[in-house]
């Protein structure tokens, strides 16, 4: 038993780790506690059960993709917290709801109760995590892409897949990037390529005033726009503010940033592709996970960004991405994730 435990601690291959854990007898010790025999170890490994400071108490993290929750699920969460928790909920830093102070003996009945309303427990560890998203285009005035729909896609198709280290996907509906695509393993950011049509333009100059990037100047006499494409952030403000609809959306889609993460050694992600359709975004996620699984093999717990900083890896990743979404969607020039310097 002692040797098994030792192996578990030094193992860097989580697939092996997981298989080993499933074989542990039910009466084995975990963290020095005697389980009741009702605990599903596979579920415990995959799920968001986080040990608290308090004796026997865990925080149970619930899955809320895109930070959305139906009232049915919320009511069940409240009832389950009254029964098994400590009368307090916490909103996690990544949009999930957490039930605090759950005695680990109650994991089984708590999970069953939550499942009745379709509420699942989130994940932790080296796998695809619950996706984050802003309000998106449904009701947010700045939203360009349907981020909530994309969060559901990730949740259904990719959630829980094994990866070398944690893998976080986020969707921002516009370049404000409120959901921090710069510090996600995969960050999608909605954008519009604006196209101007001269005959309907009255030269009112609202577009130049609306553009926060200085990408539109007004002609001194006609008032008509002079577009400086290199400054454009694809935010759609000119299109939406134009009274005569002379500016329209030429291309709409997701920009893709890759390899960011926060933590002790934060890394800023790199821009790799622009104006992806929802389908292409989905293909890009699948291709990224597959590439990460393969390229990260035997390298231990390595985040995607740290892997991509190694020589030749970004080139290899871009090839895999081009195969999935077409080379024309990739941005020109190789940008790499880079470390953010922070004070001690």
């Amino acid at each position: 038993m002692v040797t098994t435990k030792k192996k578990l601690k030094i193992s860097v291959d989580h697939n092996l780790e997981e298989r080993t854990i499933k074989r542990i007898e039910v009466n084995a010790e975990v963290s020095g506690k005697k389980p009741t025999g009702k605990i599903n170890f596979a579920e415990l490994r995959a799920g968001g059960f986080i040990k608290q400071r308090q004796k026997d108490k865990f925080t149970v993290r619930l899955k809320c993709p895109g930070g959305s929750l139906t009232l049915d699920r919320l009511k069940t969460i409240v009832a389950a917290t009254e029964k098994f928790g400590g009368g307090q909920l916490h909103l996690s830093t990544r949009q999930s709801m957490e039930i605090l102070h759950v005695d680990y003996h109650n994991f089984g009945p708590l999970v069953d109760m939550l499942k009745e309303s379709g509420q699942d427990v989130a994940s932790c560890g080296p796998r695809v995590r619950v996706p984050n998203a802003c309000g998106g285009c449904e009701y947010n005035p700045n939203g360009i892409t349907d981020t909530q729909k994309m969060a559901e896609v990730v949740d259904k198709k990719f959630f829980g897949l094994r990866t070398p280290h944690k893998f976080k996907v986020s969707f921002s509906g516009c370049p404000h990037d409120c959901i921090h695509g710069t510090s996600a393993d995969l960050g999608f950011i909605g954008g519009v390529w604006p196209v101007w049509e001269e005959t309907s333009c009255t030269g009112c100059t609202i577009c130049a005033s609306a553009c926060a990037e200085g990408a539109i100047e007004s002609h001194p006499e006609s008032g008509k726009p002079i577009f400086k494409a290199e400054k454009c952030l694809y935010c759609d403000d000119c299109v939406r503010a134009c009274p005569t609809n002379s500016w329209t959306a030429g291309k709409t889609g997701h920009s893709l940033r890759v390899g960011g993460h926060h933590g002790r050694h934060p890394v800023n992600s790199a821009m790799v592709a622009r104006f992806l359709t929802d389908e292409e975004a989905e293909a890009a996620i699948g291709a990224t996970i597959a590439w990460y699984q393969k390229a990260g093999e035997g390298k231990g717990r390595i985040r995607l960004g740290n892997l991509l900083m190694q020589e030749g890896q970004m080139e290899s990743y871009r090839e895999a991405l081009a195969d999935a979404i077409g080379p024309e969607k990739l941005v020109e020039g190789i940008e790499r994730p880079h470390k953010i310097t922070i004070g001690r």
Binding site: P141, T202, C204, T205, I206, S209, A210, D237, R240, A241
Partner: protein, 80 residues
């Protein structure tokens, strides 16, 4: 083109969001469909937000003039 005659005027150049939009909405409430509100607001963020919000709600901006002080004078035809 003949100048559009306004049925009501508000100056919201000293207001910030969300009051600028609330005052615009309240002024539009006093008008009938098809009537015109004239308003003066600051350039930059205010004129961008007001234009976007008015368009989102289906009203039509029928005239835009930039004032010498950088403010914008909009005429908005109420719709719905």
């Amino acid at each position: 083109m003949a100048e559009v005659v306004a049925d009501k005027f508000i100056d919201i150049a000293s207001e910030v969001c969300p009051m600028s939009f609330v005052l615009t909405k309240l002024a539009l409430d006093e008008l009938e469909d098809g009537q015109v509100l004239e308003l003066v607001c600051q350039g930059g963020d205010p004129v961008r937000n007001i234009s976007i919000q008015l368009k989102d709600e289906g009203h039509m901006i029928v005239s835009v003039k930039k004032e010498p002080d950088g403010n914008f004078r909009l005429k908005v035809r109420k719709s719905g």
